[in-house]
Symmetry: C2
Subunit: 222 residues, 2 copies
């Protein structure tokens, strides 16, 4: 479901909303009822001016000297993120990493659920991890439809990544988190996000070896 009317939020702001939401939930769990942009800035390592500008897109959410109401912000962002609707996820590629993701299954977030898993290795098909039966890739489209899956996480290695992504796209899924760093081709209506652990690690080490001042690297913040 595309809600075009929300496109007026700038892209850069939109990208920060999940981060804001996550930290507001942590504050709520710690019984913090309100927070100033400066304190929030220190917590999440985003400049306070950016936070104030971002929040201003959602109306007058803060008051000078008082700060922002945590539970109200959570309500607003939860609505935007549609977090209280279950996101049903298919896990593609049941190697070491895939197995770990199924076992963890975003346990800190009850609305993110890996509900099915797929591999093309016949020796894995039919086995179970955490009550999820591994199915063959050939059954992907059928299961996606039946199970109402909207999102895929692929841990298929680079060599076979394009093929796996093609099958995912054919199944009707439009959001893919891909742990293979090699860029793959997808149609314009499909969103793909890459997690490239090797490059993240090399970047970290490079900065550690070459710069003395502190850098925090959550790219999502920048």
């Amino acid at each position: 479901m595309k809600k075009e009317e929300e496109c007026k939020i700038p892209n850069a702001t939109a990208k920060r909303i999940p981060l804001y939401y996550r930290y507001l939930k942590i504050l709520e769990e710690s019984n913090v009822e309100r927070i100033k942009s400066k304190e929030f800035s220190q917590l999440i390592q985003v400049p306070s001016a950016t936070i104030r500008r971002d929040f201003s897109h959602f109306g007058e959410l803060g008051r000078s000297g008082y700060g922002y109401d945590v539970s109200y912000l959570i309500q607003v962002f939860s609505h935007i993120l549609n977090t209280q609707v279950e996101k049903r996820i298919a896990l593609i590629g049941v190697g070491n990493l895939g197995r770990a993701l199924i076992k963890n299954n975003f346990r800190r977030n009850e609305y993110l659920n890996i509900v099915s898993a797929f591999d093309s290795d016949p020796s894995l098909v039919g086995t179970k991890i955490n009550n999820i039966t591994i199915r063959h890739m050939d059954d992907l489209a059928e299961v996606v439809k039946k199970e109402g899956v909207m999102t895929a996480i692929s841990t298929v290695p680079s060599k076979h990544s394009q093929g796996a992504v093609d099958s995912i796209v054919t199944s009707g899924i439009t959001a893919i988190l891909n742990f293979a760093p090699g860029r793959v081709k997808v149609p314009d209506n499909v969103k793909i996000q890459y997690i490239d652990l090797t490059t993240e690690l090399q970047t970290l080490i490079y900065f550690d070896e070459n710069f003395t001042s502190n850098h925090q690297f959550n790219f999502a913040n920048q």
Copy 2:
């Protein structure tokens, strides 16, 4: 070892070097000898003007109409990234994800090596994964010194993340890749990078639900 003379490379450029390097290696493996900034741009989803500007920091590396020499660029970036020196890594927290990381151990990159693993669970201490014996957290500082470890990957859950990071810092490690999203305190000389899979996934789903045009989300590219 800090090489201050390389600080003149802009931060944003420096962050892209590992990505450039990675793709140049892929091109080399495919026997591509030279590439134009436009083609490289399509491959890695970074604007060609950015690529040309970045490359210009390393001297006259390309010629108009000819493109860039792949093996020469690899030489230059490899020198900058110091990739041909083994990076010895300690893995902290041997749960599902830690176990998967040890088993995979950056196998596509021979210079990134997880050489030791630590947990505070006594039932894990002494067991082996991929020939790596899991040691107790209390032994971290000793092993780090003996093994020449410079980098840590922590998969310790948020609740215990600060404590784990404190031990890592005390051991003398100055580069930490942290899979717990909660921001932790580290001294100024320590670099920390967060990998937050839940937020990455929520961002992806949010964009999928709210925007129809294509967005590629490798934050490292931006």
